[in-house]
Symmetry: C2
Subunit: 417 residues, 2 copies
């Protein structure tokens, strides 16, 4: 089953909205064995939508369109599809009832534009929208299929999960590619490639694809083979080798995030964690609580962005701040140790650094970060130099300190950075 | 100047990477008056890249390719372009020197794969990469241009900002579309549309485009006209009208975020802010410090995810937590008031809610959030019902409480929610 995604909307082309829909659909279809071959983003203009449908139907089996189904005047997808397939719009009673109930449940007033959301091109199969008002639509085009979905991400996802994927699986078979991804923190793409040269050659000789997917602080390696047992075994062997060679960097596979990995270790050992953050400003805590169930191990955080809060709430020694500066080993250690007591946790993670763009000095340039972990056994601190972009520095600092905690929990010794 | 973006990489199609590059380039080119008509995402396969180039060169003036220029084996864009244009790869001395210096500055070892990054198709113009090793390349194709850039976002951005945009402006003229965007918090798309029906009709009659761009907690309205003075005036009149009609919702325009808007109000009045967060787990603090210079007004935060930290660090009354529950008006008010004292700030924002997916009860379902703002004049609390998705609930809660603070600072009375 070969697929093309067509994302409709000027907002995507002019960059006001990032196309997360295409990423999500691509991931889900790939997991189900389909091959997503093209994704095209186009303007919401009648002629362009029709030309893109022509082109997509000439090269794939399934076309999934997102966007342009909203209640407002700029949403033209439904009318364009009706015209493309030569069908009239008719109010669908079932959909109208659903829309009416949707507004009743919310004790909200229903507007005429919402009634019009129940008008569908004749012959289109309804794909029920449980979380919104615009239904998805399924069109059979000889042996091929065109699906039109709302652009609102959670509505699109709900429709595909509740009906779309099942309908596609019933209609088309399942492909045969096998993907596996592993995640590494704290090592750059070139250095990683150099450290695993031999493993990479071995994969290549065995016909297994290897792709490097770098992002700030993380490199993901994606392995691709057929779904044969022998390919799966080769891929697993590679993962075992690299995990043994670089345990301080490899932290998970598939959809693992560092916060999930840490969450499951802490949960299984009934340990708790908290943070005492300066430059990261709550970003470590936010990342930890992004995991459902994090209340089992995360107790809280003291974000001491000012020296005043470092002194008054965390009890950092003011003389030390004056002598060594807030970005120093001495201060980050006190933050971690005092934070651990104040929050009464097993592990307390602390950060103090120069996120940028301003505030750098010769001694302490933008990108310099101290991180520390306090535990029952004592406290460890380490210095890093990241880059010069504020957002990226905060993100890398969060990942770095979470990976240090993972290594600490696994008794993995860190290399010199 | 009409543009097509071609993003190369299986990772984009299978959804492991979200295509933020296309969004950024689209935004930047639109601001410069170019029209981004298509964005195509394709696999890193020789034949597909060549076919997409054919198709793009048939319909636009400029093709910007991102991705596939890295040092590793899966990066094939440069070789494919050399073949497409019938040129050999040659080591470019200037680029080699840059790459060598790049590694020297980082006191990192230079690898053979990095040397190969200096090999370019003969005749390609070099677009210098100051922040990485793979240069961008510019190819003249009769009257048209093909640009190839690395897929690493900050490298791609640096190359376009330092040379690419200037080269394109020199080569092509500047278009004539004028965009303006305003942002609203706390009102849904349909209700907004109903509240501004008359203004919308007026825009339509004047030929000004209006697009609704909803995202969790925020609706953006994008207005599009020509760059004529009369269109600019009509657009400004619309913005003035809607700002006066819905002051509790309209919070900014252009690239404003709520955290930036609040930051500039607090800075101009020398006021300070802190947070006492439960369910949002540091996400408000993180959003506030995402703004450079936030240390001027943000002092810190106490994230009290557990009742123990609420009692011991924030001093919330334990009896009240037992009687009313952690998600209650009584508790959120104490969090805000006590947080304000502990952090010694002018305003303290507090949240306590049920983010989900678990932990909901009949009385306090998933999505129920209490938020409070403590100030010198007293404390205000308000209850909201958001949705059933954890990440989205946290995001909406952050935006809601920041907007409440904005209204408070501007003395805007909130409507009943």
């Amino acid at each position: 089953m070969r697929v093309e995604l067509i994302s409709i909307g000027d907002e995507l082309l002019i960059g006001q909205t990032i196309n997360t829909n295409a990423a999500w659909i691509g991931e889900q279809l790939t997991l189900r064995g389909a091959s997503v071959d093209f994704c095209t983003v186009i303007k919401d203009q009648n002629e362009i939508i029709k030309a893109s449908l022509d082109s997509a139907l000439s090269r794939v089996d399934v076309v999934i369109i997102t966007g342009g189904l909203g209640p407002t005047k700029d949403d033209i997808t439904k009318h364009t599809l009706a015209e493309y397939f030569g069908k009239k719009l008719e109010i669908n009673k079932e959909v109208l009832e659903h829309v009416t109930q949707f507004f009743e449940r919310r004790t909200s007033e229903m507007l005429e534009v919402n009634v019009q959301q129940a008008a569908l091109p004749k012959g289109a199969k309804v794909m029920k929208n449980n979380v919104g008002t615009a239904p998805g639509m399924w069109f059979d085009v000889e042996q091929k299929v065109v699906i039109s979905l709302p652009g609102v991400p959670y509505e699109m996802k709900d429709i595909l999960i509740e009906s779309g994927f099942g309908m596609l699986e019933d209609r088309f078979g399942i492909g045969s590619l096998y993907h596996k991804t592993i995640h590494l923190q704290g090592i750059g793409e070139s250095f990683l490639s150099d450290r695993i040269k031999d493993l990479e050659l071995n994969l290549f000789e065995n016909g297994i694809g290897l792709a490097y997917l770098p992002s700030p602080g993380i490199v993901r390696l994606r392995l691709t083979g057929t779904s044969s047992d022998s390919d799966k075994i080769k891929i697993q062997e590679f993962i075992d080798c690299i995990s043994e060679r670089l345990p301080q960097h490899v932290f998970g596979d598939g959809v693992d995030s560092l916060s999930k990995v840490i969450g499951s270790i802490l949960t299984s050992r009934s340990l708790s964690v908290g943070t005492a953050e300066s430059c990261t400003g709550g970003a470590i805590a936010k990342e930890i609580v992004s995991v459902a169930g994090s209340s089992n191990y995360f107790k809280g955080s003291i974000v001491s962005y000012s020296n005043e809060v470092k002194a008054n709430v965390l009890g950092v020694n003011e003389d030390d701040m004056n002598v060594f500066g807030a970005v120093s080993e001495q201060v980050v250690i006190q933050m971690a140790v005092n934070g651990r007591s104040a929050l009464n946790v097993d592990y307390c993670l602390a950060t103090s650094g120069v996120a940028g763009p301003d505030g750098g000095t010769l001694d302490k340039p933008v990108g310099m970060f101290w991180v520390a972990i306090a535990a029952k056994e004592g406290v460890k601190a380490k210095m890093f130099h990241f880059g010069d972009n504020r957002g990226r520095n905060i993100q890398i600092a969060v990942l770095t300190v979470l990976n240090l905690l993972r290594c600490e929990l696994h008794n993995i010794k860190m290399e010199k950075s």
